[in-house]
């Protein structure tokens, strides 16, 4: 998933006070216009986090005390937290960033899910699944007690069972070229017929031809509760892929009736543990427990109450004031400058947890834009980044310098492999830039580095800008854009001339295989290939890895691909592997995993302790 990197809202209060005092007609009478423009604005920030796989958190989901019914009615068990940005969508088909994923995870069930501890794929909507002998046909058997539910006002309306047809409709809608789903590339690498359908030219095809393509996709409902997927090649990670939002059942009747508006409160039809009650765009979201969910009696937290707060420092203040129960995804962890204080503080340090998170922070070069089309220039810029200093002095969250794109914890990763990647080497950086024809940076045209608006990104970008200046003697122009505009600028089919030379981006694991990184992001056809890395040799390797069944051979193919990506071509400069940096109040039992797929319905709050701590 794309890391929620947000930009932040600018709140501008503009007061224009114009006082015109006009005097009488005497020559020296002053006539004064007083104009004061007063501007107050607040900025954003971002903290991104985490990596790695091993985590020992005891999962205790047993709800013991049942609150007195009268008291509960008056005061439901409420989880208070914040979102760091407005979720761009709540439509599973259109979801691509971490904030939307987080909310979708609470509202929509998938066939499968991840175990928080082991990250193994476990059943959710599916009770079990069978694989054909050749590994290309997956049959999922679904539970029959999941229901579509709509929340109208305070009334919970049941709208029938969740069936295999809903699953098939979901994936077909995601793939449909008219939906223009940002993640449509992902299933095309595995599902039969998906590529043909997703990349069909709708203007050139008749309705019948399009329908034929739709019917050709390897997703079929065998009966009401059995769904079958046919793959192009065996893919052991396929059950993990079905946990993604794009494979989730979607309510066809509602979508047909309301179109784009179907995700609004009052209209949206969901099937998960929580229901959307309020969505004040740009202001807050409120979710309430779904009483009709099959495991509803296991869910303790009844209300999720979350304003949208664009600044990490504001989030930190709210946490320290006891207004929110945790600081971390989908909101903000502690701001970078507060890390030292948090670690030294006797209370905050006990509430701090630094855990793995499967994401990589990288600077992409637009490989098709001069002078970044010269691999020597790209290498020089990558050699000149002192990743360890960045982490030690600025990030301070136990991040690890990245030598590869795929992060540790993912099958096929080569994180830490000394033969992969370019590490900080100022001498080589200068030499390489000279070899490219720009000794001491002379003759290099102005280079633009673009980031999405966020305090943390700006700090990291300025640090690296200073490193490039010091090592390469290159003045890089730093530019910021708001997140949605930023994604539009970087889209593979946007004109290169509008793109920056270098940009920041992050990628987080959707499933634990390097295919999710090297193929889903960097294959020439990928809709996430922002770096415009178009390398037939690389494409061939990742395609070969898709059909290869021997894990050792696959791992080696991915290693070769990483070497092309980072060493030979240097299409990007990976910066660091994330960690997940969270503050959690002691009364909240919060179970997290390195994928940031939080299962809030498994969390518990010691409600009495929270009331005592917050004075409710």
């Amino acid at each position: 998933m794309r890391t929620r990197s947000r930009w932040f809202g600018a709140l501008a209060i503009l007061t224009i006070l114009a006082v015109v005092l006009s005097g009488c007609g005497s020559a020296a009478t002053p006539q004064v216009v007083k104009e004061t423009v007063e501007v107050v604005k607040e900025v954003e920030k971002v903290v991104e986090q985490t990596v790695e796989v091993v985590k020992e958190v005891e999962v205790e989901v047993v709800v013991t005390a049942t609150p007195d019914p009268a008291a509960a009615a008056a005061e439901p068990v409420t989880l208070d937290f914040i979102f760091g940005s407005e979720p761009p969508t709540l439509d599973p088909a259109l979801t691509e960033d971490t904030t939307s994923v987080w909310v979708v995870e609470q509202m929509f069930l998938a066939l499968t899910d991840y175990d928080d501890d082991t990250l193994e794929v476990i059943p959710e909507l599916a009770t079990s699944w069978d694989v054909s002998e050749d590994g290309t046909v997956y049959t999922f058997h679904m539970r029959d007690d999941a229901k579509w539910v709509q929340l109208v006002g305070d009334e919970v309306v049941e709208l029938g069972p969740v069936t295999a047809n809903d699953v098939v409709y979901g994936i077909l809608r995601t793939l449909d070229p008219t939906t223009a789903a940002p993640y449509s590339y992902v299933p095309t690498t595995v599902l039969v017929g998906a590529e043909e359908f997703a990349f069909a030219d709708t203007t050139a095809l008749s309705a019948e031809e399009l329908q034929a393509l739709r019917d050709g996709v390897g997703a079929k409902a065998l009966d009401d509760y059995t769904v079958e997927f046919t793959l192009k090649q065996p893919a052991a990670y396929f059950p993990a892929m079905t946990s993604l939002w794009i494979f989730r059942p979607q309510p066809q009747a509602t979508i047909d009736e309301f179109g784009d508006r179907w995700i609004e409160p009052g209209l949206i039809v969901t099937n998960g543990p929580y229901l959307l009650q309020e969505w004040g765009h740009g202001s807050h979201l409120k979710l309430i427990k779904n009483p009709l969910w099959y495991d509803a009696d296991q869910v303790q937290i009844e209300v999720l109450n979350a304003p949208i707060v664009a600044e990490a420092s504001t989030g930190m203040a709210m946490y320290e004031n006891g207004e929110i129960d945790f600081a971390g995804d989908p909101g903000w962890g502690p701001p970078l400058p507060d890390m030292d204080r948090v670690k030294a503080d006797p209370v905050l340090s006990t509430e701090l947890a630094i855990l793995p998170r499967l994401c990589t922070y990288y600077f992409g070069f637009v490989n098709t834009k001069a002078p970044m089309d010269d691999e020597l220039v790209r290498k020089a810029f990558s050699y000149a980044i002192d990743r360890q200093t960045l982490i030690d002095t600025l990030l301070k969250g136990e991040q690890v310098p990245a030598n590869s794109f795929t992060c540790p914890g993912i099958f096929g990763n080569v994180g830490g492999d000394p033969e992969v990647g370019l590490l900080f080497d100022p001498e080589k950086a200068r030499q390489t830039l000279a070899d490219a024809g720009y000794p001491n940076g002379e003759g290099l045209p102005p280079i633009t580095l673009m980031i999405n608006q966020s305090e943390a990104h700006l700090q990291i970008a300025q640090a690296i800008q200073a490193m490039w200046k010091e090592v390469l003697n290159v003045e890089v122009i730093l530019e910021q854009q708001e997140w949605a505009v930023y994604l539009e600028t970087l889209k593979p089919d946007s004109p290169d001339e509008d793109k920056p030379h270098i940009f920041r981006m992050g990628w987080c694991a959707d499933y634990l295989d390097a295919n999710n990184w090297l193929a889903d992001v960097l294959h020439s056809n990928s809709t996430s290939n922002y770096v415009r890395f178009l390398n037939p040799e690389f494409d061939a390797l990742v395609e070969q890895a898709q059909v290869e069944s021997d894990p050792a051979v696959r791992a080696d193919l991915y290693r070769q691909a990483e070497i092309i990506l980072n060493n030979d071509v240097t299409a990007m400069a990976p910066i660091y592997f994330y960690t997940r940096i969270d503050l959690t109040k002691p009364y909240l039992n919060r179970i997290v995993n390195p994928l940031s797929m939080d299962h809030v319905w498994k969390w518990t709050i010691d409600w009495e302790a929270k009331k005592a701590a917050t004075g409710r």
Partner: protein, 321 residues
């Protein structure tokens, strides 16, 4: 009789002497009697000197990083502390004065010049010319300055990313980069803030052009441009300068605001707005990072306001004692 005559002569002589002092000299003597305004003036002069000699007095370069020393509290090595990249806050604040003051004076200069010329011509011409010119002003008055500035910044930043730009655009972009990304802030502020000035100048000219000294000048055949700029301009300059001085805090705040939201100066140009933005995130752990540029900005804005108020009083004959 003789004694009386002497008195009359003396009175006239005194009056003549007083007239010899220009309105500006008169105003200046008024101004320095106003202690707050005088102090503000001195502060601004010191600020200007500091900005001009930043290279000599700043202990470090504005973009000189010392990663190992980041977040250092004020002390021997860094008199006012170091920021998150280990850059000296004192040095950046000193260089930041350059940004704020150049925005202030360039925007004020452009707006004063354009507004005066436009207002004088409109007011003096009168009739339909005046009518059309002032309707143009009314129209421009409806444009929100901030939004226009933001659009210009966004547009020219997009233009500057294009590798193949040539000609005038290339020149503009080069100028912009050499000014740390502030060129179009200057341009937009100057171009949109003259309208207030034009109204003041026109109002003044309307009230003056029927006066005897203008009639007299015209009667003896003085050319129109000479009437405008020799006879009318000096008489309206005072109030216009007062008004412009009072507008300067607005320019400074606008630049700081734009830089704060990332649409003004390009980092690492040390605009106070950028520095405040950078300090904001760490405000709970390292308040010194935001305090220094915020204090500098506040004091500068305050000084220009006090100076403007002082100038207004100084030019006001009714305030004279």
């Amino acid at each position: 009789m003789a004694v009386q005559q002497l008195d009359v002569q003396q009175v006239f002589a005194e009056r003549a002497q007083r007239r010899q002092r220009s309105p500006f000299a008169e105003a200046f003597s008024q101004l320095i009697r106003n202690r707050v305004a005088a102090a503000a003036g001195v502060f601004i002069i010191l600020l200007i000197v500091m900005a001009i000699s930043a290279d000599l007095i700043a202990p470090y370069g504005f973009d000189e990083t010392h990663f190992a020393d980041n977040y250092t509290l004020p002390g021997d090595a860094y008199p006012l502390g170091a920021d998150y990249l280990g850059r000296d806050i004192l040095s950046r604040t000193i260089y930041g004065a350059r940004v704020s003051l150049s925005v202030a004076f360039i925007a004020a200069g452009v707006s004063l010049f354009v507004g005066l010329v436009y207002g004088i011509v409109a007011g003096y011409a009168g009739g339909w010319v005046d009518n059309i010119m002032m309707r143009v002003v009314d129209f421009l008055y409806g444009l929100p300055v901030l939004i226009v500035v933001i659009l210009m910044q966004v547009y020219f930043k997009a233009v500057s990313r294009r590798a193949e730009i040539t000609g005038v655009l290339k020149t503009l972009v080069d100028i912009d980069n050499s000014l740390g990304g502030l060129f179009f802030v200057f341009v937009a502020l100057g171009l949109l803030n003259w309208i207030g000035m034009a109204r003041i100048a026109r109002g003044q000219v309307l009230s003056l052009k029927e006066r005897e000294f203008v009639e007299a000048a015209r009667a003896i055949g003085v050319t129109t441009p000479r009437v405008l700029f020799r006879h009318l301009l000096p008489n309206i300059l005072g109030p216009c300068i007062v008004s412009e001085t009072l507008a300067i805090p607005g320019y400074i705040m606008t630049e700081a605001f734009l830089s704060y939201i990332g649409l003004g100066a390009n980092p690492p140009t040390p605009s106070w707005g950028i520095m405040i933005n950078e300090g904001f995130q760490g405000i709970r752990s390292y308040p010194h990072i935001i305090l220094v540029p915020a204090a500098a900005l506040t004091l500068t804005v305050l000084a220009f306001n006090f100076l403007g108020d002082g100038l207004r009083d100084a030019f006001d004959p009714r305030m004279r004692t």
